[in-house]
Symmetry: C5
């Protein structure tokens, strides 16, 4: 994936070959939305009828139910009791879903705007009765190791969690599996732990992505030495951009988790806070790794440049050796090709062979000279 500069403003405006059909069309184009009243959820003209996918999990220590819902409104009656309810929404196309959600839970209009405006910086906001967390979810796509990123909005209330993603497909399957199986702590602890588990899953996927990147960094380091060229340079540039983007997401991520851990919100119990500290350590590790990769990659350019210089020196040596050996020989040959009427050597019986010998000596001397200079 060649990360372009224009990706920074509006991640929704992707190039056609990156699958625009799955792309929600009403994603606010930051630059186009200029002038709208803040807190307005922009309706795109081309809203498709295809519905946004809403799924729900509700569980307590003993029971667990899981449903695919037609609309988000169906979820509200199911919420409550002693259970923890997790509403997961894939796709931002249906703006009415987001609005219904906001109305039911009392989300601030600006928050809803952030939800549908992809390209947010990871952040955490402590609202009166819920927390709002924006993260960036990364995954490796296909065989090329391209990084696929999307915005994840998490809302955490006393006994519910709402997660909103840009696209279907996420990194939460292991969490779902753990809830279903009822093993581990997850069913025993509240909504705060669920939010932690989702954040942990997001952070863990950074390691997967970093591992792939690490392999590419190693491969590139090798390649720059063995076959430096424009392709290697392009890969270097791509890697550098990807690391730039990763860094842009990871620095605030660390901040978000740190603020979650230290917030005095009652939504996180003390045992859960210890788990948040663990995620925090992981986020630091991710950041460290990104920075180390950046250092490595930035050093690689110098390797490339000196590789080119080395190669140039090689070429120049060949040129110089050939030129230096043959030009004097040619001169000698030219000398005896002159048509002067009186040239004593010409008439000698073994003049020709003497000259051939002289030439061999000259060439041999040159070769010796270059050997001593280590050019050959």
């Amino acid at each position: 994936m060649f990360r372009r500069a224009s990706d920074l403003i509006d991640s929704g405006r992707e190039s056609p070959e990156q699958g625009t059909e799955q792309m929600p069309k009403f994603t606010r184009n930051r630059a186009k939305k200029v002038g709208l009243s803040p807190g307005t959820l922009a309706h795109a003209e081309e809203v498709k009828t295809e519905p946004t996918r809403v799924s729900l999990m509700a569980y307590d220590e003993t029971t667990c139910q899981e449903r695919e819902l037609a609309g988000v409104q169906d979820a509200f009656p199911l919420k409550g009791g002693s259970t923890v309810t997790w509403i997961d929404i894939d796709g931002l196309r249906s703006i009415s879903t987001i609005e219904a959600l906001g109305e039911h839970f009392g989300f601030h209009p600006l928050v809803l705007e952030d939800v549908v405006t992809t390209g947010q910086r990871p952040k955490m906001e402590d609202h009166e009765n819920h927390l709002y967390v924006v993260l960036r979810m990364v995954r490796c796509k296909g065989s090329t190791g391209e990084i696929d990123d999307e915005q994840l909005s998490l809302f955490l209330g006393p006994d519910w969690v709402v997660s909103i993603q840009e696209r279907e497909g996420d990194v939460f399957d292991p969490v779902r599996e753990r809830i279903r199986s009822g093993k581990g702590r997850i069913r025993k602890m509240g909504a705060g732990y669920l939010a932690y588990a989702l954040i942990d899953a997001v952070v863990d996927h950074y390691f997967v992505v970093l591992e792939r990147l690490g392999d590419r960094v190693d491969a590139l380091a090798e390649r720059l030495v063995t076959e430096p060229g424009p392709e290697a340079l392009r890969e270097l540039q791509t890697l550098r951009h990807e690391l730039l983007f990763l860094r842009k997401w990871v620095w605030p991520l660390r901040d978000v988790i740190s603020r979650l851990e230290r917030s005095d919100s009652p939504l996180f119990s003390d045992p859960t806070r210890i788990y948040l500290r663990d995620v925090y350590d992981h986020a630091i590790q991710v950041m460290d790794t990104v920075e180390t990769y950046r250092d490595m990659v930035s050093g690689m350019f110098e390797i490339y440049l000196s590789s080119l210089s080395n190669r140039m020196n090689e070429i120049m040596k060949v040129l110089t050796i050939i030129t230096t050996v043959f030009i004097p020989l040619s001169f000698v040959a030219g000398l005896y090709g002159m048509n002067f009427q009186y040239m004593p050597e010409i008439a000698w019986r073994y003049g020709y062979f003497a000259i051939l010998g002289l030439m061999a000596v000259m060439a041999g001397g040159m070769v010796l000279y270059f050997k001593r200079k280590r050019w050959m």
Copy 2:
């Protein structure tokens, strides 16, 4: 737009082709004004009679009036009651307007000096009964994507806002539209919200500018690979300077908004503060983007340099191949052009063809050698 170093001192001293006729002539040239008493509003000799444009909007939840005024004094009687009054002044030419304004509202002479001295760093000052905010307003100009910037001074009082700009034409039309239409929150909330809306409009336009810059960064990245040359280098330099300038404006901008948000001024109500936090997030995003562009652009120079090196290698290879193939051949030809009387090969029946064959073998060998070295 090629940003020159001298632009930094006095943004009013622009080059002729950038439309000096619209440029207010009494803009204080920081360097020329040296020696004047501080707080003196410099009168330029060439003050034109053409009046500064003053317009007024006064609204409350139910009514909204909008007027073009002959002078700023006409605005003062209209102010007051339960309405919010917004006085917008375009152009700094009429120094008496600024002075009348300062007298009426009780602005400090140094503040007035800042208003007419363009090239201020964005800042926020909390005066007794009003806030003074300096921002830099950017827009894209014409088809080339040049950045047009001007200084915006904002004064916020209990029920009034005064905005002073360098030139006609601004980024506030959407705000005016929202006031006129009466939709959204703007008519219901006070002067603080209006100030927020204006700042938001300014920050939003940074995204427009950044999007254009992003496109140019991408185009340049492409161009440096496909046709590296002096023009690409000049564009690179221009982009770098523009990003340098943007950064110079955006860093203090973030600071200004953060101080507005955290100030304990009663001029901002609590709901408005939430909106300020939102603008703050946007300002951070702008800053992030500028920094990322800078990283990208700084990496591009290396791409360019290695592109040049690559090209040099290509040239050298051609030179070396040609030289290396033909110089030995020429030597052989020269050898048999010698005029020795006794050269046995000369007299051979097929000597000529034998030599031609030898030359073909030599050339072929060289070519093979270069193929194996991947030079061809």
Copy 3:
């Protein structure tokens, strides 16, 4: 040791030539473990039967006993009284050992997970009744000066210390010797001093490693001038990576020790705290040295590049001199090889010798010119 980028994610996934047989197989591969419940100790399928080595030292001012144990459970009855107990575990293969340990001492599951997940960032956690410290232990391996690093987990309780290492072989032999001999302070002071002594041993080994690195830096500085080439460049790259890794470990190390010193934990007595300050000074010195090496090594690349440039200039000079001397001579020879019927010089008696003389003058003039330009 050529440090690869992929080492950063999972230090357990080492290349075969680095002795994978000693490598604990269940070391959590951070990326593979994605999806497991946090606090789960991952069981690798290939757990070998070969037991983890557990040894125990228990001492007070007068007595000292030392034992090799079959399992960690054997250690628990021996603990207690007025003695200090040090349980040292080599190898992470036996997950049941870690679990038994955790159960007995009441370690948090996340802490146990950190113990078996190598690649942790150095850190210090203050749990209710014990401290948990993660450090990275470095040693020089064999004759090449490769850096061998492993994770060390230290637990400090009121009268016990538990140390867990990745592999057999450590830097603690001098500490053991001091305990056995009963000389010095170590037998008189409590578990806190033992923990200090272990940390001090770890930090001291950084100096050994840095001394080796310093020798390599000096050798490289010499080599880059005397024989610049791809191998020197590769060594430069290796050194740079190793310093990058060292830095990654040393910065948090300093932090850990500083937090230990300033913590209000009763586990460290005031006299011991003075010793911690001393280790802190050493950690700063290590950090300083790493940074200075990094500055030196980063400067070396420039030396290398200019060395290449210098060499290129040398080559070009030779080429230019040869070409410039012989090409005009060859031209003159070619001139008199022309077959015009009327060429007066040809028929002169001493024409040939006159031309030879002219050529000698031309060549001499060129040589003088180059001498004056200091090219020869």
Copy 4:
């Protein structure tokens, strides 16, 4: 002005062509003074009889007197009453003047030492009954735009200001003019405002200097593209050094003014503090500009380097084209210059013209090839 590294230690040790005769000879050479007791005012052997210039201004709201004094002692009786007294001393040669001043006002010996030791870092010290401020005063000298800098010591007491400069000629004439004319605030406000006005004059002159520098930066940017060469490189180096020096003075300057503004000294009234905030804004702007220039100039080196590379490529292309076109042609000519007895083409009637045609085709092919490669 080519700023030398040795200027940093002792600005008094200037090169002869910079007018040493005006240079006070007893300026402490920091390095030579080593070993003297601190607080000792060094007497240079070569103290000239030419007196230091002392002038005095004393004013209140209604009166203003101005005098040239024979010695500083003459000033003391004139001080006092309700007037503000400003003693301005040009030249540090007369050490007794400084000592008399110190004795009268009770300055600390270390402070007096700082006064005569030029090359101080800008700083502010709050002594019991007066403030001591060191600034660096810059001016543009002559037509070349050289920066002339000198140390300015300011003492501020309840109703007096003492300013001590290295040389005659300063940036204070506008302030004197304002005092004389009695216009503006200066006559109505106390000594604090006078001190502010002097500092403001100093900071304002930085803008003049920066404007000149900006013009030179722009001119250099142009020149590096149009005629890159050693002179442009030298100018680049000079600019870089000058910016380095400016930066060294401006950073602490900002600090000094910030500390003045925030100090709780009663010597500054509240209205004056607002003016100090204004100077602070200016100092920040100066700093910003210096940093931006530094960024610009540092980018210019890369422009220069790539300009050289471009030029090299141009040269190489010419060489390669000529060589590649003519070497094969020469080979063909050499071929038919061979003396074999049996060469069928030789005897052909139109052989010569056929070969000439062949050569034309070869040359044409080469030219086409280079055109397609865009080398021509």
Copy 5:
């Protein structure tokens, strides 16, 4: 002095040509001492019998006695009364001296270890009844301007100062002279002032060293332009390393003095504290200068590189001009050296001269072309 990387670990392990005979042999080699109990003073096997030099000065306002002592024990009875006692120890060879000192004054074993372990980072420790300060003392050695550095340990008690140096010869002679002469403040003020005076002497010598370095920086700047080459490069590298080392010592030095000034230790009286502030200003100035030198030197590499590039361009131009002028001429000559039987020009009466004329025109055209391109 070429600063090697390995100097960083153990400054006692110097190369033979730097006079190891004066070098104390038991200086702890940080890396070799690994494993010793902390606070152990390492005895080297090769302790020489030559005694460490101990000298004593005891003075009050009226009396001053000065003695060379056989051993440090002789000093203790002389201490006391109302006098200030200064014990100065040169050389670390006699470990028993250090131990006796430590026992008498009650120094902590770790402190004694720091005293004999050269290569400490400058630091300040506030012990119960004394302060311990480590500084690095620099001097210029001989005519080459090599920097000679050694560790200085200072102990300050209520009425005594102990200074311990690595070698004989120090920067304290001016202080001794001031004590002997009884002029200035030094005899009137207590031990704190003496400690200040010693630190001041150390800091002042940094200026001497910096002045020498400044001269070398200037000389190098000149040399890199006039005769760039490997020696200039090596000097550049040496300077860079020396500045790296200086910086490593100066940054913590500033810190040490700042902490001394702000410490609430009763060992410094308030008047002395003012003097410490003065030294602090000097330390800042030293730091500033080192940083500025570093900036200058780092810019020089670019100058060197572009100097090389310039030179390469010069060489290439010569090569290209010669080649371009003569190769076409040679081709023409080769043309008429062909042996075709029918070549009309050959038979012309003035063919030869016509061709010579043609060649002259070709050569002249080329020269004109190069002149226009400014290559000649």
